[in-house]
C-alpha cells in the first residue's frame, strides 16, 4: 500500500504533486518539455504547470495556439525526434479533436516503422464531472484510449500516485495517456520529499478487506473508500483495489483480491456502455469464474450526456451510496444463494 510507505511525511495537493513531478523530470532530463494552452504564465487552468516557465523558460514551457490536433501532433513529432514532450489538453472532452494523432500516429508509429522509431510522449488531460460544466466538459473517455494498442493509460487517484506515475510516464519510451480528474486537484495526501516513482501497470490496494472487492480508479476511489467505511459499519469488510494504470491492467492484483473476497463491484464514473468496467468484469469472469458466487456488479455513470443542472449532474454521477448498494447486493445475493 502506497500510504504505508509515506506516513508521517509532508502532504501535498494532487496538483502540487503533479507540478513537482514535472519540475523534477525537467531538471533531470532536458529533453522533457511541456506544451498546452495557457500553461505558461497562467500556469494552466488547473494550475498544474505553475512556475515552470520561470524555471525552464518559454522554450520548454510552450503556450500553444488553439490547435489541439496539430500541437498534439507536434508533440508526437518532437518525441519521434528524440524529445520527451508532455502535452496538456485542457479537458478530455477536447481529445476527440486529437484522436488521429493519438490513435493513428503516436500509438502505431513504433509498430509501423518496424520497431525502429519510438514515441516517448505523454498526454496529460483531465476529465470527470465537476461543478456544472455540462455535456462537453464532464466526460470520462479512458475507454477510448484503452482500446488502442500501443497506448499506456494511467489514472491516479492520490497525490502520491499522481507524482510517481507522472514521473514514470515521462520516462516511458512509448506514448502514455495520463488522465487526471478535476475534483482531485485540490485533494491532499502524503508525498515523500525523497525521489520515487510508481511503476506503470502496477495497481494498489487502497484498503484491505475480506468480503468484497471494490475496483475503482481516479476520483471514484474516494467514493469507494467512503463506501467501504459505510459497509464496515454493516459488518461488510470491503477491499478497495485501485488499478492506477488501466492499460496495461494489473490483472494479477485484481484476481488475487477477487479470489480472496469472491465478490466484486466495479465503480467507474464513465457511462456503463463501452466502459473499462466491462473489460475488467469480462477478464474476471474469464479468469476467476469458479471463485465468483454472485455476478460482478458495475456501478457507472448514467447513460446520457452530462446535464448542466447541478442536481441532475449529481444524479448522473455515481457516488458512495450506489457502491454500497451494489456491494450489499452482491454479498447478500451470495448469502441468499448459500442459505
Amino acid at each position: 500500500m502506497a500510504n504505508a510507505k509515506t506516513k508521517a511525511g509532508r502532504e501535498l495537493q494532487y496538483r502540487e504533486a503533479l507540478n513537482e513531478a514535472l519540475k523534477e523530470e525537467m531538471r533531470r532530463d532536458d529533453t522533457v518539455f511541456v506544451m498546452g494552452e495557457n500553461i505558461g504564465e497562467r500556469g494552466g487552468s488547473f494550475k498544474v504547470t505553475v512556475d515552470l516557465i520561470h524555471e525552464f523558460g518559454a522554450d520548454r514551457v510552450l503556450d500553444t495556439p488553439l490547435a489541439e490536433a496539430s500541437f498534439t501532433g507536434a508533440g508526437v513529432g518532437a518525441a519521434i525526434a528524440g524529445m520527451r514532450p508532455v502535452v496538456e489538453i485542457l479537458f478530455i472532452d477536447f481529445t476527440p479533436l486529437i484522436m488521429d494523432q493519438i490513435a493513428n500516429q503516436a500509438a502505431k508509429y513504433r509498430f509501423m516503422t518496424g520497431f525502429k522509431g519510438s514515441v516517448p510522449f505523454v498526454l496529460r488531460t483531465q476529465g470527470g464531472s465537476g461543478n456544472g460544466l455540462a455535456a462537453q466538459h464532464s466526460q470520462n473517455l479512458e475507454a477510448w484510449f484503452c482500446h488502442i494498442p500501443g497506448l499506456r493509460v494511467v489514472m491516479p487517484s492520490t497525490p502520491y500516485d499522481a507524482k510517481g506515475l507522472l514521473k514514470s510516464a515521462i520516462r516511458h519510451d512509448g506514448p502514455v495517456i495520463f488522465l487526471e480528474h478535476k475534483l482531485l486537484y485540490q485533494t491532499k495526501g502524503p508525498v515523500p520529499e525523497k525521489e520515487y516513482v510508481v511503476e506503470l501497470g502496477k495497481g494498489d490496494i487502497k484498503r484491505e478487506g475480506r468480503d468484497v472487492t471494490i475496483i475503482a480508479w481516479s476520483h471514484m476511489v474516494l467514493h469507494a473508500l467512503k463506501a467501504a467505511d459505510v459497509l464496515a459499519q454493516e459488518g461488510i469488510d470491503a477491499e478497495v483495489v485501485d488499478p492506477r494504470t488501466l492499460s496495461p491492467l494489473d490483472t494479477e492484483l485484481i484476481l488475487e483480491s477477487v479470489r480472496k473476497t469472491e465478490h466484486v463491484v466495479i465503480a467507474q464514473e464513465a457511462v456503463r456502455r463501452g466502459g473499462v468496467g466491462s473489460d475488467i468484469a469480462s477478464y474476471i469472469q474469464e479468469q476467476a469464474f469458479d471463485y465468483l458466487d454472485a455476478p460482478i456488479r458495475i456501478v457507472a455513470g448514467h447513460n446520457t450526456p452530462m446535464p448542466f443542472n447541478l442536481h441532475l449532474e449529481s444524479v448522473c454521477t455515481p457516488h458512495a451510496e450506489e457502491i454500497v448498494a451494489a456491494a450489499k447486493e452482491t454479498v447478500y445475493a451470495e448469502k441468499r444463494a448459500s442459505a
Binding site: E37, N38, E41, R42, D63, T64, P65, L66, A67, E68, A69, S70, D93, F94, L97, N131, G132, L133, A134, A135, Q136, H137, H302, N303, T304, P305, P307, F308, N309, L310, H311, L312, V315
Partner: protein, 319 residues
C-alpha cells in the same frame, strides 16, 4: 440614412446585452450560476450589427461567449437567465447552461463548449439552404482563438468550394483566454486567412455597430445572390477577463482603456443621438425598460423550478 428607430433598436440590443451580462455576473458571484460564464461585455456591437443584417429565416451559430449573439438574435432574456441558472424554464430546460444556450425557434443553432465546434454546423445549415434552394444565410460567430483551429480553415474552404451562403464573423477580441493573438498567428490581421482560400474578406471596427452592420448587410446580400461566402473580421476587445473568475490582469491597461474609450454601447448611443436625433429621454426610456425586463427575468428565473428527476429520466430514456 439610418432611421431613428433602427438606431435605437441597435442601441437597445446592445444595452440589453450589457445589462444581461452585468446582472448575471452578480448572480454568478452569488453562487447562483455554476460552471463557466464568458461575458460578451465590450463586444456588443459585433453580434448586434450582424444580427440586424439578417432576416427571420436566417441562422446564426454562436460560441461559448454567446449571450450577446442570443440576445441580438431576439431571445427572451427570461428564458436565458433561467437557462444559466439551470432551471427547467430555460431555453434548454437547464440541461445546457451558458455554454450551450440555443434558441432554434429563432434560428440560433446554439452556443458551443468546443471552441470552433459550431463552425461546420453552420456550414451544414447553409448547405441545407442551398440544397433546398431556400434563401437562408448563416452567420457563424467565432473568435481569434477558433481561427487557429483546423476546423475553421476546413469550413472556410468548404464553404468557398461550394459557394455557400455563409458570413464568417471573426470576432477578433485579441485573446484566446490569456494568449494574445500576436502569439498565435503570424499574420498581422486575420481576415487575410480568408483571402488565402480565395474568399472575399473584410476587416471592420468591431466596436462600431454601424460599421459592422454595413459590412454584414453587404455580405448577406452577396450570400443571397449565391456570391458567398464572405468573411468579416471585426476587431474588438473584452472589457474584462476570459470568464467571470479571470481578472484579466494580462490585458495591458492602456489598450483596455483605449477600447473602453470606444465602448460599443456608448458609441451606439451616440449614433442614435447624432444620426438618429434620439433624445436623452428616448435613451432613458430604453434604459429603464431594459432594466425592468432584466429584473423581471431574474425574478422569473429564480422562482422557476428545476427539472425533476422523474422528468429527466423520462426524457433521456432511450437517448
Amino acid at each position: 440614412m439610418y432611421s431613428k428607430k433602427f438606431l435605437l433598436d441597435l442601441y437597445k440590443t446592445m444595452y440589453t446585452i450589457r445589462v444581461f451580462e452585468s446582472e448575471c455576473i452578480k448572480l454568478y458571484r452569488q453562487g447562483l450560476i455554476r460552471g463557466y460564464y464568458h461575458p460578451y461585455l465590450g463586444e456588443e456591437a459585433v453580434g448586434t450589427g450582424v444580427c440586424a443584417a439578417l432576416g427571420k429565416q436566417d441562422y446564426i451559430v454562436s460560441t461559448h461567449r454567446g449571450h450577446g449573439h442570443c440576445i441580438a438574435r431576439g431571445a427572451d432574456v427570461k428564458h436565458m437567465v433561467a437557462e444559466v441558472l439551470g432551471k427547467e424554464t430555460g431555453y434548454c430546460l437547464g440541461l445546457g447552461g451558458s455554454m450551450h444556450i440555443a434558441d432554434i425557434t429563432v434560428g440560433n443553432l446554439g452556443a458551443n463548449g468546443i471552441v470552433g465546434g459550431g463552425i461546420p454546423l453552420g456550414v451544414g445549415a447553409a448547405l441545407a439552404s442551398k440544397i433546398r434552394k431556400e434563401d437562408r444565410v448563416v452567420a457563424i460567430f467565432f473568435s481569434d482563438g477558433a481561427s487557429n483551429n483546423g476546423v475553421f480553415a476546413e469550413s472556410l474552404n468548404l464553404a468557398g468550394a461550394w459557394s455557400l451562403p455563409v458570413v464568417f464573423v471573426l470576432e477578433n477580441n485579441h485573446y484566446a483566454v490569456c494568449t494574445p493573438v500576436e502569439k498565435s498567428c503570424k499574420a498581422d490581421d486575420l481576415y487575410t486567412i480568408g483571402q488565402g482560400f480565395g474568399i472575399e474578406s473584410h476587416m471592420v471596427d468591431g466596436n462600431d455597430v454601424l460599421e459592422v452592420y454595413a459590412a454584414a448587410q453587404e455580405a448577406v446580400a452577396k450570400c443571397r445572390k449565391a456570391k458567398g461566402p464572405v468573411l468579416i473580421e471585426a476587431k474588438t476587445y473584452r472589457h474584462g477577463g476570459h470568464h467571470v473568475n479571470d481578472p484579466g490582469a494580462y490585458m495591458p491597461q492602456d489598450r483596455l482603456e483605449y477600447f473602453k474609450s470606444r465602448d460599443p454601447v456608448t458609441l451606439g448611443k451616440g449614433h442614435a443621438m447624432s444620426i438618429g436625433k434620439a433624445t436623452k429621454n428616448d435613451i432613458a426610456k430604453i434604459d429603464k425598460a431594459v432594466q425592468k425586463e432584466m429584473d423581471e427575468a431574474v425574478a422569473f428565473a429564480k422562482e422557476s423550478p428545476e427539472m425533476s428527476e422523474e422528468r429527466f429520466f423520462e426524457l433521456v430514456e432511450n437517448y
